[in-house]
Symmetry: C2
Subunit: 310 residues, 2 copies
Amino acid sequence: MSSGLVVALSGGVGGAKLALGLSRVLSADELLVVANTGDDFEHLGLSICPDIDTLTYVLAGLDNPVTGWGRRDETWSFMETITALGGEDWFRLGDRDLALHVERTKRLAAGHSLSQITGDVCRRLGVGPRVLPMSDDPVRTRVRSDDGWIDFQDYFVRQQCRPVVRQLAFTGVADARPQPEVMAALGGGRVRAVVICPSNPFISIEPILSVPGLRAAIENCGAPVVAVSPIVGGRAVKGPTAKMMQELGLAVSSATVAARYGDLLDGYVVDAAGSGDIKTKVHVAPTLMTTLEDREALARTVLTFAHSLT
Amino acid sequence: MSSGLVVALSGGVGGAKLALGLSRVLSADELLVVANTGDDFEHLGLSICPDIDTLTYVLAGLDNPVTGWGRRDETWSFMETITALGGEDWFRLGDRDLALHVERTKRLAAGHSLSQITGDVCRRLGVGPRVLPMSDDPVRTRVRSDDGWIDFQDYFVRQQCRPVVRQLAFTGVADARPQPEVMAALGGGRVRAVVICPSNPFISIEPILSVPGLRAAIENCGAPVVAVSPIVGGRAVKGPTAKMMQELGLAVSSATVAARYGDLLDGYVVDAAGSGDIKTKVHVAPTLMTTLEDREALARTVLTFAHSLT
């Protein structure tokens, strides 16, 4: 494979699996992960960045393999006490996880950027590749259901994706500046592939692509853009992707995801059972990542495929 | 003993011992504890009220009998992670304790008063007597040492009382309004005794007495004011009281404490070994509170003594 930088766009759990695979087949300075921040929210007075944190924990080997979110070897004394005090306990915050939110909130209040804080945390926790937010400016995904607009985490966690999704909005995105290091990397002529991880296209990848200038920078970076479909065997591996597609009147298929990315894609990796009518070059490969080996194998597949498109 | 309300002025550990004793020999509605808030501070972006919290935990039976501060059955995952992240770890916050600070900070930001929050927390944790801050307005004790002025918790915890104390100041106290329920109780003609708990006179009791109107309300409440000396056998039982007296050029004695309270006192309870030259009625009794029985016995002694002064 050629040298150069791989830029991966990722949401949380599903995307982080491939990001981990990429981190294991590339050297640390060959990978830059751009994280969705549309899921970020303020809760109990704390700034919480679920996708950045999942990526950080996964890449640091600290993730909880059972829940898919939060940390392994976690304790729950804080949450038990919040419940005892009558506080809001619908968003589960482990004691170790909490330290990151408290430290980040404190540093944001002191004027540090989310990028700086994320970089420092990654260094402290031993994460090799750079993980950067799509923007240091706040973007907040909102969901319109039949009862009106609600915050994303209200929809996603508190109401467990039960409301029917009629519309999505990324509040603040029009004024959000793309993260400068991400833009510099994309414009530096050293990118060998842009990988769109198998995250939810509507709520994990579209916020990233909606930051003014970011989609154009990806299109103009000179490297092939390859997405991995989050649909495996006609179903979403995890999360509300399939339910959301149905509610938005779209077919639950990899083709729907590809259509969403449109001309941006140079190549598309789909599992054996779900190619459909896709207007880009398709590579069929196993995309279900159960083991660490699956993650590494898919990462190699994506990079080899991307290389074949140059 | 007569009925009526007992108003106790208290700092943290030492004062909370007598407050617990009082809570066990009085019914819940007969006791009102007024807590020092001069030790309060903002740390890691959180509002922390050490004396209110110690009183709350002690009265709820949740206090840590080994450390004297914080909660029993505590876990430390948050603190371990703060250290791993390179955050400030000189002030030890347990995972359960932390929930109170996060919830309070959130509610203060939402416009709730410290009194409301303290009342709700006490109800949730099963504390019978009312615990109220001396004021809902911020008062912050500052310490002048040979290197200039520092915040109280910097002196007390981070520097473990090592700096020589030259002067104390209670920033904000001139503009602080006394807590309205405390003032109403003192003015309601139902007080049978005001008890100044065996707390540090300089940093626990003087901030309370410095809130404009509070000392006068105590003097005019019609009930005897009885203090318990924090000096036992010529030494402070705990904390920097004795060291502070020496540094301020005062004799380490119960008489020094009594002189500090001056005309406010109608009676003074001291241990057998340390009466000295005290210009108020003195009652000699064991004041070292080791067991729960010691706490109850001293509470009874103080109330009986106060009754004898009416």
